[in-house]
């Protein structure tokens, strides 16, 4: 974690961490406030303009980071934004939501030189926000029309990135989205304090400025549309459905009122305005060790929950949430308990709490229960133990390990059907990976259509 982030995180914690906080809306302002021009100038000048820079290699979308930072330092922020967006059309969201501390900023050579990375995420946000605030014509031009039409299923980061690149390459695109709004995870799945000021919607609007993309809302795959029809009607299909279903604990009482998926909680909170209208328990348990678990726990705390306990079955080093995220939970007053697994949901007419069994690694390194148990009281339990694909909608495509199988060209086992994002196994389940999947799939589809 960089010093600036630590400062901001602890500041947020100090302001919003108090129990019984009754002004919940304050807790959802920007986690990392936007840079001023002076801050951007000072920080951009810390960049060493490395050759073949390690930060570029560390970014799934391979943004030319030294070039865009240099453009900021010379007073060319809009040029910087174009450099970013040419590799990652959702550079605005990624600047806000990417775990930069384990991607580009972890690779920054300033970590070696000074123990503090260049704040690449904040600089990226500065550049993209600068361009988007100017209401200029869309920065990219479409290639001459190819006459081909592509169906994209899912208006999340993968689908929209694919649509944008395909449109740029001259194809026409129709996007089918199950929900009433576009953005996918960006709109529904990220913590509110990471995506303030309706940014997800503004970004989609900006992205659609390329032209040639239509979006049809409330069209769910397997319900309102099906793959066979799409294949018949369009020249190619891209599936970017994300992970539509969540894992269960496998415990009795999981359907009890007050027990919910963390992603539902986050989604509801994102769609609630003002945030203080969102109901939250007094004692909340969050189960899981990923960023979703942290997002849910921190937001529950900021909504005014008296006690939030995050329980993870292994140790901090095993959590998929980054160190920064873990620190964010702690500085927001979340109690984190490691090495414990849920064994029973306690209810007595209403939700009472949960029983956990302590865990450890046995001699062979396998996670086992120790037999020792403890209870945590709760009137709300949020599960964040992983998501999975809704397999019944995807007939004709091979699924392995809960993910759609694709070849190196993002083509599924169904010819002419491509896939990307969280529903395939490409890298971490991150917006930035989905954007890369969508972009590369569009390039592959373009090649496919040329030979078809």
């Amino acid at each position: 974690m960089t010093t600036l982030q630590a400062k901001q995180a602890s500041k947020s914690g100090a302001v919003h961490g108090g129990a019984g906080h009754n002004d919940a809306d304050d807790g959802f302002s920007d986690l990392h406030p936007a840079y001023s021009t002076l801050q951007a100038m000072a920080e951009s000048n810390r960049c060493l303009y490395c050759y073949d820079a390690p930060c570029v290699t560390a970014c799934p979308t391979s943004i030319d980071i030294p070039s865009f930072i240099r453009k900021i330092s010379t007073g060319n922020p809009d040029g910087a934004a174009k450099t970013i967006l040419s590799a990652n059309i959702m550079g605005g969201t990624c600047a806000r939501a990417c775990p930069t501390e384990v991607l580009c900023e972890e690779a920054c050579v300033r970590n070696v030189a000074e123990d503090t990375a260049v704040e690449i995420g904040s600089l990226q946000r500065y550049a993209v926000d600068h361009l988007m605030a100017r209401d200029l014509p869309h920065p990219f031009k479409r290639a001459p029309k190819t006459g081909k039409t592509i169906a994209v299923v899912g208006a999340g980061p993968a689908g929209l990135s694919c649509a944008h690149r395909a449109a740029m390459l001259g194809h026409d695109v129709v996007v089918f989205e199950a929900k009433p709004k576009p953005g996918g995870l960006n709109e529904y799945g990220l913590a509110a304090y990471k995506m303030t000021n309706d940014f997800a919607q503004r970004e989609v609007e900006f992205l659609l400025g390329i032209g040639g993309i239509e979006i049809e809302y409330n069209k769910a795959l397997g319900k309102d549309i099906n793959l066979a029809d799409l294949k018949a009607k369009y020249d190619a299909v891209f599936v970017g459905v994300g992970l539509g279903s969540t894992n269960d604990l496998g415990l009795k009482g999981e359907d009890f009122p007050g027990v919910d998926d963390a992603i539902n909680f986050i989604e509801k909170l994102r769609q609630t305005e003002p945030k203080s209208d969102m109901p939250v328990g007094n004692n909340v348990i969050v189960i899981g060790g990923g960023n979703t678990a942290i997002d849910a726990a921190v937001q529950a705390k900021r909504l005014g929950a008296e006690e939030v306990t995050l329980v993870y079955r292994r140790g901090p080093e095993n959590m998929s949430a980054t160190e920064f995220e873990q620190d964010l939970a702690k500085t927001n007053g979340v109690v984190v308990r490691y090495w414990a697994k849920p064994v029973a949901i306690k209810a007595n007419g209403k939700l009472m709490g949960m029983e956990f069994e302590k865990t450890e690694l046995d001699a062979s390194g396998k996670l086992v229960g120790t037999g020792e148990t403890f209870e945590v009281r709760a009137d709300q339990i949020l599960k964040a133990i992983g998501q999975k694909i809704k397999t019944d909608d995807l007939a004709g495509m091979e699924i392995t390990g809960g993910k759609i199988v694709v070849d190196k060209n993002y083509q599924t086992t169904a010819p002419g059907v491509f896939a990307g994002g969280d529903c395939i196994k490409s890298g971490e389940d991150l917006t930035v990976q989905s954007v890369e999947d969508g972009k590369q799939a569009a390039i592959a589809i373009d090649a496919f259509l040329k030979t078809a």
């Binding site: 100038m41 000048n45 050759y51 073949d52 010379t74 070696v112």
Partner: protein
């Protein structure tokens, strides 16, 4: 703490740091603040014949780096725009109140004997320790036949210096302009005219930047701009060379030198003195940071002297002059190679790309088995140019190591490949 007192042109000074003739020395208020801050002396802003000149608005342009630090300033301000009598009265007061501090009167007049002599005598009567002849201003005054219009003509430099020397019996500093092809011509002229010392450099003629929204050179005066005098740390290399040229040339080496030009730190001052200055003058650094910068100038030089065992400034004054040579006197058999310390390397790759694109393809970049990149110098290709050494962001990561050769020193005139070679025998 080392003794920083010094003597130049026969004038004793508490330390070698004087404020140069410029806005910071235009009136008693500033000069008092400067003396209180620790400056050893001031050269009062250039005095002219009444009626006083009239200045324009704005007056300064700036050369920034990308962090908005000032590398240089240029200005289109003229000489003091206050009545001569006011300035002279304030000089008298300062002399009385600060008897241990040096005040030099800078002056400028049209190229007429009477004008120079009268003005010099009036200023001398105010009690100044010496006079400095402003023959360098490259803007405004030169268009009226003064400043660099005089300084660029060696005969006029000699003439003016002689007029003033004849008129007064206090030391005379002839201030030289860098806006000429060879500083030695004017230095020699000053010497011939009887100057006790030369002051250099005055500002460099410049257009510092252009307002590209309105397409006007800066500083902008109601929609128009003009060339101005460039100063600040950016001009230091130009000044150092001119100082060294005067100090190392037999015809001019006896001139004492008041070094001026971008002196910002104590180290800059040491460099000026090592190359021939008996004392230095500072302006831009004070304009950027205030008079308090003299604290570092004094303290830094003193610490350095203690470290090196110098007990007086004379001990290092001109110490680098013998090592300043003509290119033809350099040893062509001397060789250095870059050495990269992998333990200090942060793997930014800049040495590689600079050498690869713009030099001798002498630094390779390979992937390390354990991850990361290894940068290595190819000795056969490395010409020891120093580029990688200079651009490396990590101090001491790249060093230049002399190559052991058994070859005796050889200069270009002796070199076998020199078609004009003079036979040694």
């Amino acid at each position: 703490m080392a003794d920083l007192s010094c003597k130049i042109a026969g004038i004793d000074s508490l330390n070698p740091f004087w404020l140069a003739s410029a806005p910071p020395t235009d009136k008693k208020y500033n000069v008092v603040r400067a003396f209180e801050a620790g400056w050893g002396g001031v050269v009062w802003k250039t005095l002219g014949i009444d009626p006083p000149v009239v200045n324009v608005s704005s007056r300064y342009g700036a050369h920034h780096d990308q962090n908005r630090r000032l590398l240089g300033i240029n200005n289109i301000e003229l000489i003091s725009d206050r009545p001569l009598a006011t300035n002279l009265q304030e000089i008298r007061e300062c002399r009385k109140e600060y008897p241990d501090h040096v005040i030099i009167g800078s002056m400028m007049a049209p190229i007429e004997e009477r004008a120079w002599k009268d003005l010099a005598q009036q200023i001398a009567e105010s009690g100044v320790h010496g006079l400095e002849l402003n023959l360098g201003c490259p803007h405004g005054m030169c268009e009226r036949g003064m400043g660099s219009a005089i300084g660029q003509v060696p005969e006029m430099v000699e003439q003016v210096t002689r007029w003033v020397k004849d008129a007064v019996d206090i030391p005379v500093f002839t201030k030289l302009t860098p806006n000429i092809t060879n500083i030695l011509w004017s230095a020699e002229a000053a010497l011939k005219g009887g100057a006790d010392a030369v002051s250099l450099i005055n500002t460099v003629n410049s257009i510092i930047s252009v307002d590209i929204d309105n397409m006007v050179p800066e500083p902008v005066v109601d929609g128009k701009g003009t060339h101005g005098g460039y100063c600040g740390s950016a001009v230091k290399p130009i000044a150092l060379n001119m100082v060294a040229e005067i100090a190392r040339t037999p015809e001019t080496r006896d001139l004492e030198i008041s070094g001026i030009g971008g002196i910002t730190t104590w180290k800059d001052a040491v460099e000026f003195m090592a190359l021939g200055s008996n004392a230095v003058q500072v302006c831009t650094a004070a304009m950027i940071y205030g008079f308090r910068v003299v604290d570092d100038l004094i303290d830094g030089m003193s610490q350095w002297m203690d470290d090196k065992g110098y007990t007086s400034v004379e001990q290092f004054t001109r110490a680098a002059v013998p090592q300043v040579s003509d290119w033809n006197e350099l040893n062509m058999n001397f060789d250095t190679k870059a050495v990269i310390n992998p333990d200090n390397c942060i793997e930014c790759g800049r040495c590689h790309i600079a050498c690869e694109d713009t030099s001798h393809q002498a630094i390779t970049m390979t992937d390390k088995p354990e991850g990361g990149r290894l940068f290595e110098v190819v000795d056969e290709e490395c010409v020891g140019c120093n580029l990688c050494y200079h651009i490396c962001p990590v101090p001491d990561c790249i060093t230049m190591e002399p190559v052991k050769t058994d070859k005796p020193p050889m200069t270009w005139p002796e070199h076998p490949l020199n078609p004009m070679r003079v036979a040694a025998e």
